[in-house]
Amino acid sequence: MNIEQQDFYTQAILSMAALVGLTSFLMLGQGRLLRLIFVFALQGLLLTLTTTLAAYSLNSPHLYISAMMTLILKVIFIPWMLRRQVVLMNMHRDVEALKNNTAVMLGGAGLMVFSYYVLHPIVQTSSAIMLNALAVSLSVVLLGMLLMISHRQAVAHVVGFMSIENGLFFAAIVATKGMPMVVELGVAFDVLVAAVLFGIFFFHIRTSIDSLDVDRMNRLHEVDQ
C-alpha cells in the first residue's frame, strides 16, 4: 500500500516517527551540551504534537492529559533543569570531542535496521505502518543507549536516559493509543522523580569529583586490583 493512500492521521504519524528518529540521530552526533538539550526539547515537542494529534484523531480525550504532562516534563522542566546545570558548571562553551563519531553514527544506523529486524514478526498481526512506528520507537530507545555510551558528560547521560523514555512513550502512543491512565500517571511520576533525583546527583557528583565527567568516576572495580 502506498503512503498516499493512507488517511491523514497515518501519514502524519509516519512523518512524526521519521522526525523523532531524526532528532535521535541529531543528538547522537552532538558535542555541544546546550544544543543537545535543545534537540532533546525538540523531540519532546514532537512527542507532544503526536500525542495531541492522536488524542484529536482517535477521539481519546485522556491523551490530552498525557500530551500536557509531556509538554511540562519533557519540553519545559527537564531541559530547563539540565540547561541550568550546564550554565552553572560553565560548560556551555565546551565542545566534547566525540571519539569515533563516524563509527557511532554508522552504529546508530545499524541499530535502526536491527530494530526493524527484531520487530518484523509484528507485520503478521497488523499493518506495515505499525511496524514502522514501533521500529522507530525501539531504535530511539537503542540510540539513547548509544548516546550514553558515546558521551562522557553526566548531562548527556541524562539526556540519553530521558530520550529512551521518549522512545517508549512514542511506542505507547502510536501502537496502543497510550497506556491505561493509571500506568501513564505512574510512569510520568517516575520520570518526574528521576529528573529531581538527577538534579540532586549533579550536585553530589560536582562536590565529589568537581566535574560532571563520568569517566572520572572510576573507583569501583569488578575484582580487586
Partner: protein
C-alpha cells in the same frame, strides 16, 4: 481485602511520617513498629488467602494468590527484622559521624518507601503498575546507596541509577508490546491486568509475546542481577548502609524475579512452548557460574556476599526456567531460604565491619575471639548459604539438582561444579575472618543478633522439615506456575 489495602497504606503513612517527623531519638524504634504492624497485616492477609483462596479486589486492581502471598509475608518479615537491626546500627553510624540527622530522616522515610514499592510490585494485578513500582523501588533506594556521600558511594549510586533505569526501560517496552498484543483481543482498559491476560493467554499472539518476553527478561533481569547485567549490584550493596544491602539482597532481587515469572506464565500460555524457559535457564546458569568464579577475587566483605546473591538468583532463575513442578517447587523454596539466610548474613556482616572498622576482608580477623556471637553467626550463615545440610538452602539446591538430573542431565555436572566453586570462594575468605588471630585493641561492640538467630533457626527448620501449611502453599503456587502438582 482490607488487609491488602492496609499492607499498602501503612508504609505510605510511614513515608510521610518519617519525612516530616523523622529526626527524633526513637525514630529507629518507630520504624520497627511500622514494620511490625505491616507484618501483622500481611499475616492477616495470608490467613484470608489460606481460608478463601485467591483474592481479587473489586475493580481487579490487586490480586493475592498463593504465589505472591507468601512472598508478601516474607517481605514484611525481613523488613521487620532488618528494621530491628537497623535501629542501633544507624544510631552507631551517626555517632561515628558518618551521618547527619537529616540523612537519617531520609533513610527512614525511604526505607518505608522501598517497602511500599515492594508490596505494590507483589500485590498489583496490573503489569504496568508493576513496572512503575519496580522503578519506584530504584528511585527510593538510589539516594540510600549514596547516603554516606563518599566518592565511592556516589559512583555506586550513579551506576545503580543509570544501569537499572536503562535496564528497566526495556521492561517497559516489553510491557507496551504485551499491551499491544492484548488490545488486539479486545478489552482496552483491562488489557494489562494479569488475571485477564492469564485467562486469555492462549489467544495472545505468540510471536509478539516472545519479543516482549525478551525485553522483560532483560529489563527485570537487570534488577535480578543476571550476568552480564549485574554490574550495579555489588557496587550498590557494598557502598550503601548495611541494612539496605540486606533488604536489597533479600527482597528486591526476589521481587524482580517474581515479575519475570509472572510474565513467563503469560508467555508460556501463549506460545505453548518453552522459549521463555530456555532463555531463563541460559541466563540463570551463566549468572550462577560467573558469580561463583567472581567470589574468589573479592576483597570487600559486602561485595563477596553480593556476588553470592547473584549466584543464588542465577540458581532460582535457572530452576524457574526449567519449569517442571519439582524445579518450580525448589525455586520457590530457594527464594525463601536465600532471602532469610542472606539478610541474616548481611546483618552479621554489618556488625563485623563495625567491629573491625573496615569492610576489607584482609583486615577483619579473629571474630570468634573478640565477639563469639558475631563470629559464629557469620560462620553458620556462610555454612547455610554455601548449601550445607541440614540447612534449607541444601534442601532447595538438592531439589534443583534432582530436577536437573531428571530433565537436563548434561547440565547437572555444571551445577555441581558451580556449587563447589562457590563453596571454596566463600570459605577461603570467611575461614581466616572468623578463626584468625584478632588484631590488638579490637573490642566487642553492642550488637543485636536476635534477627540473625531467628532467620538461621527458620532456615534450619525449613531444612529439616517444611511445615505442612507452607508445603501446601508452595504446592499451590507450583500448581499455578507450572500447571501441575509437585511429587
Amino acid at each position: 481485602m482490607i488487609a491488602a489495602y492496609l499492607v499498602l497504606l501503612i508504609p505510605f503513612a510511614g513515608i510521610l511520617f518519617f519525612a516530616f517527623d523523622g529526626h527524633k531519638q526513637e525514630t529507629g524504634r518507630l520504624n520497627v513498629r511500622f514494620n511490625a504492624v505491616t507484618l501483622a497485616a500481611t499475616v492477616w492477609l495470608a490467613v484470608n488467602v489460606l481460608n478463601n483462596g485467591t483474592i481479587l479486589s473489586s475493580g481487579k486492581a490487586f490480586i493475592i494468590d498463593s504465589f505472591n502471598v507468601y512472598l508478601i509475608v516474607l517481605t514484611a518479615f525481613i523488613g521487620l527484622t532488618t528494621a530491628i537491626f537497623s535501629a542501633p546500627y544507624m544510631e552507631h553510624e551517626k555517632e561515628l559521624g558518618k551521618l547527619t540527622e537529616r540523612r537519617l530522616k531520609l533513610y527512614y522515610s525511604m526505607y518505608q518507601g522501598f517497602m511500599l514499592a515492594m508490596y505494590l510490585v507483589l500485590t498489583t494485578n496490573n503489569m504496568g503498575v508493576m513496572w512503575v513500582a519496580m522503578e519506584g523501588a530504584t528511585l527510593a533506594t538510589v539516594l540510600l546507596v549514596s547516603l554516606y556521600r563518599t566518592p565511592e558511594s556516589i559512583e555506586a549510586a550513579w551506576k545503580y541509577f543509570i544501569l537499572c533505569g536503562v535496564g528497566i526501560a526495556q521492561a517497559l517496552f516489553g510491557t507496551i508490546l504485551l499491551y499491544y498484543a492484548a488490545v488486539q483481543i479486545g478489552d482496552g482498559d483491562n488489557a494489562l491486568l494479569w488475571s485477564v491476560l492469564f485467562d486469555n493467554a492462549r489467544k495472545l499472539n505468540p510471536e509478539i509475546l516472545e519479543i516482549a518476553f525478551v525485553f522483560m527478561l532483560i529489563g527485570y533481569g537487570t534488577k535480578i542481577g543476571l550476568v552480564p547485567l549485574h554490574n550495579w549490584l555489588p557496587d550498590a550493596h557494598s557502598e550503601g548502609p548495611t541494612p539496605m544491602s540486606a533488604v536489597l539482597s533479600g527482597l528486591l532481587l526476589n521481587d524482580a524475579l517474581y515479575a519475570v515469572v509472572r510474565n513467563k506464565m503469560l508467555v508460556d500460555g501463549a506460545t505453548q512452548g518453552n522459549m521463555a524457559g530456555l532463555l531463563m535457564m541460559g541466563f540463570g546458569m551463566l549468572s550462577f557460574l560467573v558469580a561463583a568464579l567472581f567470589l574468589h577475587r573479592q576483597r570487600d566483605i559486602k561485595r563477596l556476599f553480593s556476588y553470592s546473591s547473584i549466584e543464588h538468583m542465577g540458581v532460582m532463575t535457572f530452576a524457574f526456567g526449567m519449569g517442571g513442578p519439582l524445579a518450580t517447587f525448589a525455586a520457590l523454596l530457594h527464594m525463601t531460604v536465600h532471602s532469610l539466610t542472606k539478610s541474616a548474613i548481611f546483618v552479621t556482616v554489618g556488625h563485623a565491619s563495625q567491629l573491625a572498622g573496615t569492610q576489607n576482608m584482609d583486615r577483619i580477623r579473629g571474630l570468634i575471639k573478640t565477639q563469639p556471637r558475631i563470629g559464629w553467626g557469620l560462620l553458620i550463615g556462610t555454612v547455610a548459604i554455601a548449601g550445607f545440610p541440614p540447612f534449607g538452602v541444601f534442601t532447595s539446591e538438592f531439589l534443583v539438582l534432582l530436577a536437573t538430573m531428571h530433565s537436563y542431565p548434561w547440565l547437572a555436572p555444571l551445577l555441581l561444579l558451580g556449587i563447589g566453586i562457590a563453596f571454596a570462594g566463600l570459605f577461603r575468605h570467611i575461614q581466616p575472618i572468623v578463626y584468625g588471630e584478632q588484631p590488638e585493641g579490637q573490642l566487642p561492640i553492642k550488637a543485636n543478633l536476635w534477627p540473625v538467630m531467628i532467620h538461621l533457626a527458620l532456615v534450619l527448620w525449613l531444612g529439616l522439615a517444611i511445615p505442612d501449611f507452607l508445603a501446601n502453599w508452595f504446592s499451590q503456587a507450583t500448581l499455578l506456575i507450572s500447571g501441575s502438582m509437585p511429587l
